[in-house]
Symmetry: C2
């Protein structure tokens, strides 16, 4: 939910009241107050407590009504919270953080309480963070309004999380690494302020270069796409979505009921918004660590320098698997390296300095490489061998990197005991060092992909409030085909067959199908007869079918058409993200290879072409190895029509065309299903 | 290369001579001697040096001839090495480690030197490790015969590596973690002793519970499979193979020249030998860490206990993705947990103890879970929240685990600053703690898979020396089909068509193909005409073809057959591992989905069934969703016949049947290619 005020005063209050401030060190009300004081908040601090007149050297007040606070933090038993909010509102407080739990996460009573809370926020136009959260921090004004044992530290990454456990881990991790956040927000129940409000703010926040979020659900997917596509255009947004399975496994198919379940919709929305999708918590921290030190990754390639042959080969494998190129050394660089390196070193990227490389050899190589204009990213691998001067090499890397701030230098020093101090030197020198090169490669590829996608990213326009309805009823089969026709989606001619007389108008070979609400997977129920050669056979089939036909089912005839390639296209409407358009490999392979691409409602022909190109079967669609391809323009137009159908017929929940057969230049839907 | 002596004296010498022992601390000859002395080797030590009479307090000798040594370590300039080996042999030394470099890794001269070295080893029946290696360690007799700065420490994992860089990283890593190896071997150039010799030894080594190896190539794949399948039956063998790409990406197809390139063969061999395949260096160390503390993983499931909801959900996702089950809590366990835990905790696996769980709540939960007989593996996730008693919880976990040594307890404490000391407590308590739960899950799944595969593992019998020939010539097309027939592989009837007269015997619809040595990919060269309806069309086609026919190409006719499903089967002979049998999805999708399974020469019907079941298209083969399946017994038999063909026709390098079409119960090869 969004309020018409922006978050400026919320994040940069000039005065803060802690309602429930306490002298008892075990109480959250103490911990928050203490955090605000000890981190040297630059504004006024008002402890609010019914009994005390002084807490932690500050004058305490009996009521919020007695002070003027830009922000109130509420940490009192849940029963008193709503009352206190009204008091805040009447005292002119517009920004509130509710730490207290006991709302929607806590049964029916809690749910009702949260509804009342929302109502109050609406009536009084309040920015409310939480309830049931850890609080928030803004390092730009030394405000640590959380109850976590944590010192504030400046940094360039903003962090928001829906999970308190993740917040705790992140703050603790950051303290271990001496890492700082620009803003740190624990969202809690998201009763009023949600991720979108903060994403919107971060777009203009000059203190923030990177946004990292942990989210469990996204209620307003359309606003999410609008806000985050705008944000992604400016700075990277990386999100770990809980309950999300691997991209490859998710694209289960529509007719098994697992496509465009909200998870698939979320991923389609993430793609649309230019989000860096995080796979696990480790990646989240790795990205923070890397980005904390390297604001800009330029270029798609990397120079690999190493004294360790084995790990280098393994890393080259990983780079190629992730689509990251090695650098094609310029002639000048080759000459330079040949001059400074021993003859046994093969001058190329990857640059293997050989196991006996000392610090000086590393220096000469890295210096020459960094001096080359076409080099932008340099990854240095090291294992501590007999001649290796680990510490000295770390110092050299730090100092050379400091002289080439426009380039990204990162490392993987592998080992344990003897690289400990070198790691500290690298860290101090602003070099990201990962324990193993697979981590460097993983993060680098995520950032390179983001930078490439960013160029093509359009701002999403969420438009008018979208409609979401679902009766769960299957539409009549003939009616389904009429709708397809209306939206210029070519479909096979389909006639209702009620008795033997209707067989007269059929042409052979033909197909007879028993259709109806209870016959979803026709092939399973043996309700499809293919390749019927003549009238006699048709009559016999019809009789067979009559056994399974009830008053809700009936029989249809279609001419028999076989294609070279079967596809699936369609959409499903997601409550949060709107219609999710789908295209993929159809027929018997649909569920086996899950070769499906998804898009949201506003895709255009260019997006559809990208979706087609991202399909594994694209080489077949396009035509390869002497085989003819198919008419991709027509296919593109059909998918666009599916989208138009989804836009106009908001009463339709789901459309599933499978198979859509392709044969030469012809494309035609042979079967379809609509659920309203 | 194997010697008839075993490695017992090599690894457990009673006396060691260091040839090239030196007083100069910079020299390797000093470093090795020093390592042997300072690690308290339990046998006699003889420094060999032409000039000195005493080194490091030990009497030095002018020549190896003056002492009796079970093992000689040679660290002298390369020019003197061969001469010294002869001296060793004449002095009765049977075991030698050559540290010196300058052999096959160093140009033509080096290669020749290594050949001479091999000859000497053969003549004198010497066990030689190296050359160009770091040396070896055996913690069981306090022998550190390497030049790495490293203290020996007892442990239960044996480590061998072909890369010196990896050796250095591993030793340094181990020192940082206080981790010990049972045996540690740097293989170097593998001129005489190779991985197989050590694998063979480790099978009977009572000091070793786990074998981890880094290998760059495996020269004798057949012996590898024999030795390692025997070893895997007893203890796990995990191998990181350099240059190996992801299993999913490797199965590129035969006719593009990328299948059964040695990498695919290696993976087939690894599978046959029951190897745990490592994907990167990080995994290698993670596995060592985990296995170093947990000898036996029993059962396929895990109990997940956590105070962190978000990370818990993410971990459940990962577990399910890796096929690891959660525990179905017994009724007794449920009762017990309900009694000891607060009502708000939902008693199930995963067990979310809620963010405010203190050490006592952890204790009660873990205690009850560990007391349950059906629980074997317990994974505990923790993030440091306000009520979390991090250190105390770590102590409780350590102590409870110590009382349940038959169970595997491992953890992921996520964070930084406040979990540092807890991590040390866990480490001391023999608990593996990973920084992030994805690592726990990854390693657990590798071990569970190993334990499951082990049950089915048969010992491989390498049999007689295998033949490997490759002319690189394509066999005549008609001849190819004759061979298929001879081995009972059903193939379409194929006739040579030299002129219009031959068209008389054709039945229609028919297929005409131009075949020959230069026409490999027929569809690409437009050398296939499908669905020829009559003689007239056939004549026209033949005329068209005559344009591309030379004396080496000719035309064949086949009846037109269409199937429901196209497969690819065949084999390619690998120099090291022998014939690699392949079965997979054929036709136009072969290269797109790379749905291929590989096996080695001795697979039986059960293995073939497993290969078929591992194919993604297996549900189609078997029949699913109301669709009929295919005759898998017949298919199995055909693949067995392909293997027999590979065994008997050792002159054939490669056979490639694509497509093999399946239609109802019929299976027939429509096209085939043999390369000799």
């Amino acid at each position: 939910m969004t309020c018409d005020m922006n978050l400026n005063t919320f994040l940069y209050p000039k005065s803060v009241a802690v309602i429930g401030a306490s002298r008892d060190k075990k109480k959250i009300g103490y911990q928050i107050l203490n955090n605000i004081i000890t981190n040297n908040f630059r504004g006024k601090i008002y402890p609010i407590n019914l009994k005390e007149s002084e807490i932690e050297g500050l004058r305490a007040y009996k009521s919020i009504a007695n002070v003027h606070a830009d922000l109130a933090i509420i940490a009192i038993p849940v029963n008193f919270v709503l009352n206190e909010i009204e008091k805040c509102a009447k005292a002119g407080v517009k920004n509130i953080t509710i730490i207290s739990a006991g709302f929607s996460e806590d049964g029916e009573e809690g749910r009702k309480r949260e509804e009342k809370l929302k109502m109050l926020a609406k009536i009084y136009r309040l920015n409310i963070l939480g309830p049931n959260c850890l609080g928030m921090m803004n390092s730009a004004n030394n405000l640590n309004a959380t109850f976590a044992k944590s010192e504030i530290k400046k940094g360039r990454a903003a962090f928001i999380s829906q999970s308190g456990a993740i917040c705790s881990a992140a703050l603790d991790w950051a303290q271990g690494k001496d890492f700082g956040f620009s803003k740190f927000v624990s969202l809690g129940n998201k009763a009023v302020l949600d991720e979108n409000d903060f994403f919107e703010y971060f777009a203009k926040d000059k203190e923030t270069d990177l946004v990292v979020a942990y989210l469990e659900e996204i209620e307003d997917g359309k606003r999410f796409m609008e806000v985050v596509s705008r944000l992604s255009k400016i700075k990277p947004v990386a999100i770990l979505k809980a309950g999300q399975s691997e991209a490859g496994a998710l694209a289960a198919m529509s007719h098994t009921g697992s496509i465009a379940g909200s998870n698939e919709a979320v991923l389609a929305g993430f793609k649309r918004a230019g989000v860096i999708v995080l796979e696990n918590i480790e990646e989240m921290f790795d990205l923070l660590l890397f980005y904390g030190k390297h604001k800009k990754i330029k270029g798609n390639d990397v120079v690999l320098i190493s004294n360790a042959g084995g790990p280098m080969v393994a890393t080259v494998d990983l780079l190629s698997k992730n689509g990251i190129n090695l650098n094609k050394f310029s002639r000048e660089l080759v000459e330079e390296l040949k001059e400074v390196l021993p003859g046994i070193v093969k001058v190329q990227d990857p640059l293997d300095l050989i196991g006996d490389a000392d610090a000086d050899r590393f220096k000469k190589a890295i210096e020459a490489v960094l001096d080359d204009k076409k080099v932008t990213n340099v990854l240095i691998l090291l294992t501590p061998q007999t001649s290796t001067e680990v510490k000295k090499t770390a110092e050299i890397i730090s100092s050379l990197a400091a002289h080439h701030k426009d380039k990204v230098v990162f490392t993987s020093f592998m080992g344990g005991k003897s690289i400990k101090s070198a790691k500290a030197i690298l860290e101090k020198g602003g070099i990201t060092n990962f324990d193993f090169p697979n981590k460097d490669v993983n993060i680098l590829s995520k950032i390179i992909n983001y930078e490439n996608d960013k160029k093509k990213l359009r701002i999403y326009n969420s438009g008018k409030k979208h409609v979401f309805k679902r009766k769960g009823e299957q539409l009549d089969y003939i009616e389904t085909f009429k709708i397809l026709k209306k939206f210029n989606i070519p479909a096979v001619e389909t006639h209702k067959v009620t008795d033997q007389n209707d067989l007269r108008i059929m042409s052979y070979p033909a197909v007879l199908k028993a259709v109806g609400k209870k016959i979803v997977h026709k092939t399973e129920r043996r309700a499809v007869a293919l390749g019927i050669k003549n009238r006699k056979q048709a009559e016999k089939t019809l009789k067979e079918f009559e056994k399974i036909l009830t008053d809700k089912n009936y029989c249809v005839s279609q001419p028999m058409i076989t294609g070279d390639l079967e596809m699936i296209i369609g959409f499903r409407r997601d409550k949060s993200f709107g219609p999710i358009i789908m295209v993929g490999m159809g027929g018997i392979y649909t569920e086996i290879f899950k070769d499906v691409q998804l898009g949201v409602e506003d895709i255009n022909s260019v997006d559809i072409q990208s979706m087609l190109e991202a399909l594994k079967i694209y080489p077949i669609l396009k035509g390869a190895r002497g085989k003819h391809g198919y008419d991709l323009k027509v296919l593109n137009g059909i998918i666009l029509n599916v989208m138009k159908l989804a836009q106009k017929r908001t009463d339709i929940y789901e459309l599933d065309i499978n198979p859509l057969v392709l044969k030469g230049n012809k494309i035609i839907a042979l079967d379809a299903r609509i659920v309203i």
